[in-house]
């Protein structure tokens, strides 16, 4: 049984929290800030991820069923882009490129992996995302996903910080000149 993680990862817009495109972040700061109520032992992304790693055994038990569902979803529509084979460094970079050049990915059926997080979109609504940290875990990228079907948070969703795989159709909103909000629509979400 997983411990309840009380960290609320701040998910804004494209969920970008790295230093390369500062204008994007600047815009983000003007949005209302999502509440973070960290427990001391889960204050950082490192702790979040470490916690996940210790719970891999539990997750593996759920894997066969998830695998079947995933295969079914892929049979319905073949993937255009699958970056789940990549290391976290490369996934981070791939998602960064999606955020920087979203027009190249619109409408593509994309599969990513990361960890589950809840946040607030630029419209102020609650949103669910897949977060990918870089190797040093000082930078994170993420993509919002819209899980198809009727799912209620928190009952149907995994614990925050759970390793997940998400596949869905890429879409984005251009919030302003420098800011884009990217998401996977009509998405399937599986626990890794």
């Amino acid at each position: 049984m997983k411990k309840a993680l009380k960290v609320m990862i701040v998910l804004f817009l494209s969920l970008t929290a790295c230093g390369k495109k500062e204008e994007e972040i600047q815009e983000v700061e003007e949005e209302p800030v999502v509440v973070a109520t960290p427990e001391p032992e889960y204050e950082t992304i490192e702790n979040l991820i470490t916690e996940n790693e210790t719970e891999e055994d539990t997750q593996e038990e759920e894997e066969p069923a998830a695998e079947e569902t995933r295969e079914t979803a892929e049979e319905e529509r073949p993937l255009d882009l699958d970056i789940t084979f990549m290391s976290s460094t490369a996934i981070y970079s791939a998602v960064y490129n999606m955020i920087m050049n979203p027009e190249e990915y619109v409408g593509k059926y994309i599969k990513i992996k990361g960890f589950f997080a809840v946040g607030e979109s630029y419209t102020g609504e609650e949103m669910y995302g897949c977060i990918i940290p870089d190797a040093t875990q000082c930078c994170v990228q993420g993509i919002q996903f819209l899980w198809k079907g009727d799912h209620v948070y928190p009952d149907d969703y995994p614990e925050i910080g759970t390793n997940i795989i998400v596949q869905g159709i890429f879409a984005y909103d251009r919030v302003d000149e420098y800011t884009v909000a990217v998401r996977l629509e009509d998405a399937d979400m599986f626990i890794e």
Binding site: A17, C18, S87, T89, D134, A135, C139
Partner: protein, 278 residues
């Protein structure tokens, strides 16, 4: 394994990283030989900190997309000032480097914190100082800029090889033979600044010195002539950059520090090999 690598290389950002990584490694190794022989090993470190400070200034000014136009001139000016010989100066060369180095780092960090335009200062500092993933997030424009600058640096080195050789070993003699040493020192300063600014993308500001120095001193463990040291240094630098990039992508490690780690391993191998040959 090959299939996995092919999958990685089907992504443009991975190809860009390897192209730029190889070019920067090649250029930095050429410059590294000159710096080590002229006993300017620590100048690269000082200038990389200047580049960090300049980048902080560009961020504060809101110049992000064209930050090179701020970083490059500042770094070039400081490089020229550092390499200029001034016998009447009250400050010695190493004092100037130390002052500029820590001064730029401190001012840069202060500016980033005081006038922060980003939500995540630690991420900005981390990626700029240690180059965690910046080489994997290059735009095509940055790749082309790097290719052009690298070709210019390699071209200058090849065409002016004899002049560079002369002022590297004996500047006074070179001056006596009529060589315009001031001009060539200026050229070296400009090249150094260009390479350092480019290399910030590969390994980050704090680790640039390793890229400049390790391949050159590794080559010097086994080679005697300037030409052979330059060639072996270039080979070591490129091999280490490629190996470091591959390892970091496959093993999910930070790019900059992984490349430097491979440079350290290469140095240890060459050091042991050099001792065994004696």
């Amino acid at each position: 394994m090959m299939e996995l690598l092919m999958n990685y290389f089907s992504y443009p950002f991975v190809r860009y990283a390897f192209i730029v990584g190889v070019l920067i490694a090649l250029c930095s190794s050429l410059l590294g030989v000159i710096l080590v022989l002229k006993r300017f090993s620590y100048i690269g470190d000082g200038l990389s900190h200047v580049a960090f400070g300049a980048m902080a200034v560009s961020m504060v000014l809101g110049i992000v997309q064209q930050k090179m136009f701020v970083i490059m001139p500042i770094t070039v000016i400081v490089a020229v000032l550092l390499l200029r010989h001034s016998s009447d100066s009250r400050l010695s060369g190493d004092s100037k480097i130390a002052m500029i180095s820590v001064g730029s780092l401190a001012i840069g960090y202060l500016l980033m914190n005081t006038f922060n335009t980003s939500a995540n200062i630690s991420a900005d500092v981390c990626t700029t100082l240690f180059g965690s993933t910046s080489i994997l997030t290059l735009s095509i424009e940055e790749v082309w800029l790097c290719i052009i600058l690298s070709l210019a640096v390699i071209g200058i080195f090849v065409f002016l090889y004899h002049q560079i050789f002369a002022i590297t070993f004996d500047e006074d003699f070179a001056k006596a033979t009529g060589l315009k040493t001031e001009f060539y020192n200026f050229l070296i300063a400009v090249i150094m600044a260009v390479i350092i600014v480019m290399a910030m993308n590969l390994v980050g500001s704090l680790l640039i010195s390793a890229l400049l120095i390790f391949p050159a001193i590794s080559a010097m463990q086994v080679c005697k002539s300037f030409k052979m040291v330059t060639i072996v240094s270039a080979l070591i630098s490129v091999i280490c950059a490629v190996a470091g990039l591959l390892f970091s992508i496959l093993g999910a490690t930070p790019v900059g520090s992984t490349i430097v780690a491979t440079d350290i391993i290469a140095f240890l191998i060459m050091f042991i090999y050099g001792r065994m040959r004696k």
